[in-house]
Amino acid sequence: MHELAVTQSIMEIAQRHARQAGAQRILAIHLVIGELTGFVDDSIQFYFDVLSKGSLAEGARLEFERIGARVRCHGCQAEYAPPDSRLWTCPSCGALGGEIVAGKEFYVASIEIES
């Protein structure tokens, strides 16, 4: 559901940067989305197709770059990808948990425009 508001925000950011660069049209929007953010590509694409009609971004390609989750062990400092639906335990030393160092990204990285 909340992908609607998020997609409006993506449109606003992309169009502002495109106008500043004197674009005629936005050809592509490159998004970086961490695995832990819970935002769904298909849903963003769906709203984008509707919202972008008649705008600078109509027909633009959405490129999703997914960043996997990474956790740094509290014990031995090793970094690992936390397993899905199982306890987060360090594969190197067996300690529980750790600090999330990747997977929460959620930003517009770049746009491709026609000028």
Partner: protein
């Protein structure tokens, strides 16, 4: 001619800026805001009502209620004489900073020490949207099962404290408390876990004492 333009802009930056304004407004009035998140039915409103009862004469409370529709929760809070604002998200799965900003304008902030912001019942979306709160609290409950931390890790990683509610139902259900505690610790080494029952009042006082310490 096509060209690439670097942007690097947080998609939720507009929400984050308003959350920052909310925080400044709260700080200017000396209000501590606690964002309460949980599944529907875990007992968010019940823990707020328990805290209101227990803190009477000790801290001045205010409440923002977030729900998809209706005033059911706000009416319960209003009956206690506590200032409350109901936000209806109209289908939205979480509160956002602009909604909280408009609710803050309707509250007598100079007469409030502790503000509970009850988020929409949902274990996923509320973690993505900053509100300007000082503390995040999750209410889990025994009937939901001990495996929730494995299935919804995100929320467990961001909270400052957890309540496990409905512990009075433990004898009737197959809830593995040790497995729950271990799974919580794997995701969040710091947050205190309070085991409570809003039905019997068990454990509530420990949590309320913790809240008082956060306000001082």
């Amino acid at each position: 001619m096509s060209k690439q333009i670097p942007v690097i802009e947080e998609i939720l930056s507009a929400n984050d800026l308003i959350a920052l304004e909310n925080r400044k407004l709260l700080d200017a009035h000396g209000v501590l805001a606690v964002n309460i998140m949980a599944s529907p039915g875990a007992g968010k409103t019940s823990v707020i009502l328990r805290a209101i009862e227990s803190l009477r004469g000790r801290l001045r409370i205010g409440v923002i209620e977030g729900d998809v529709a209706g005033r059911v929760d706000a009416d319960k809070v209003a009956q206690t004489g506590t200032p409350v604002v109901q936000i209806n998200t109209g289908g939205g799965c979480h509160l956002d900073a602009p909604q909280v900003q408009s609710a803050l304008r309707q509250l007598p902030l100079s007469e409030i020490d502790l503000l509970f912001i009850e988020n929409v019942g949902n274990l996923i979306c509320p973690t993505g949207f900053a509100l300007g709160d000082h503390l995040k609290l999750m209410v889990a409950s025994v009937p939901e099962g001990h495996d929730k931390p494995l299935k919804y890790p995100g929320m467990f990683t961001v909270v400052d404290a957890l309540l496990l509610n409905k512990i009075d139902l433990m004898p009737y259900l197959d809830f593995d408390l040790d497995a729950f505690r271990t799974a919580v610790r794997a995701l969040n080494a710091e947050a205190p876990l309070f085991e409570v029952s809003c039905k019997t009042g068990a454990g509530i006082e420990d949590w309320v004492e913790w809240l008082i310490r956060q306000c001082s």
